[in-house]
């Protein structure tokens, strides 16, 4: 079990780096799909079966297909030739290190607890099966669950409205296509 977790973690980190590093957006998208599948594997290994399936169906399925459709629709003929400048890279990595340094101290404050506990001890009490999650969703989280369906409906209506609007309705712009040539 531990070996599987290690391999999945390594795959997740490697593919996450791939999303950032690869120049072609399409390669980044496929790298992200691998990342999402590795996370789904981790969820399954942790016993959160419902979330593992939802991760594959919603994230790796629906959302990434939408991203790939948009990439295909935009039909970007030119790749961004501009390199990541050394200054820009340094600033980005510094921001990342700063962010990591902000996250780590609260974790390290409880390092002893977190490093002695393993997940198998509480495994049976919080088994994330479909039945258990469904009981929670339709029980205590009933109102929030119904509201989330409303959020999805508004999201769909808003997306259609944004995507169907003609460019002329937004208003003509001088030299709007200048960036392409």
């Amino acid at each position: 079990m531990s070996f599987i977790g290690f391999v999945l973690s390594a795959v997740a980190v490697a593919s996450a780096l791939g999303v950032v590093i690869f120049r072609n957006p399409l390669t980044s998208a496929f790298s992200l799909i691998i990342n999402l599948l590795a996370m789904a594997g981790l969820y399954a290994a942790m016993g959160a079966h419902f979330l593992a399936v939802t991760q594959v169906v919603v994230y790796a399925g629906a959302i990434m297909v939408l991203v790939l459709f948009v990439l295909m629709l935009l039909n970007l003929k030119f790749e961004s030739k501009r390199r990541f400048g050394i200054f820009r890279t340094a600033v980005a990595v510094a921001a990342g290190v700063l962010m990591f340094a902000t996250i780590v101290p609260p974790i390290m404050a409880h390092f002893d607890t977190l490093s002695t506990f393993t997940l198998s001890e509480n495994m049976t009490k919080s088994e994330g099966s479909v039945k258990a999650i469904g009981t929670e969703l339709y029980g205590r989280y009933m109102v929030q669950f119904e509201l989330s369906s409303l959020v999805l409906l508004i999201g769909v209506v808003g997306a259609v409205m944004l995507a169907k609007r003609k460019t002329s309705q937004i208003g003509p712009r001088d030299g709007a296509a200048g960036g392409a040539q």
Binding site: V13, F50, N122
Partner: protein, 100 residues
Amino acid sequence: MEPVISYIGLSALLFTIGGIGLCLRRNAIVLFMCVEMMLNAVNLAFVTFSKLVGNLDGQVAVFFVMVIAAAESAIGLAIILSVFRSVASIETTDSAELKW
């Protein structure tokens, strides 16, 4: 099983990589994918603590995060499409009309 700290460390690492990508890249769709990756990192921490504490509230929270991410991706990609229609580029440096 691995100790809990390894999952939390992985979550922090993925969140940081997503943040670096957000600072580094200029392509709007890649920025969107970096945000999705950061959401996923937080989801992993949610699931880990749900298992650690021993109740299902964290996993229900992950479900709601996924719902919001789905709605966000639909609207975000529609916005990227309409930006592309008016500016003819999805590089964030090309739509700098508000830059002084």
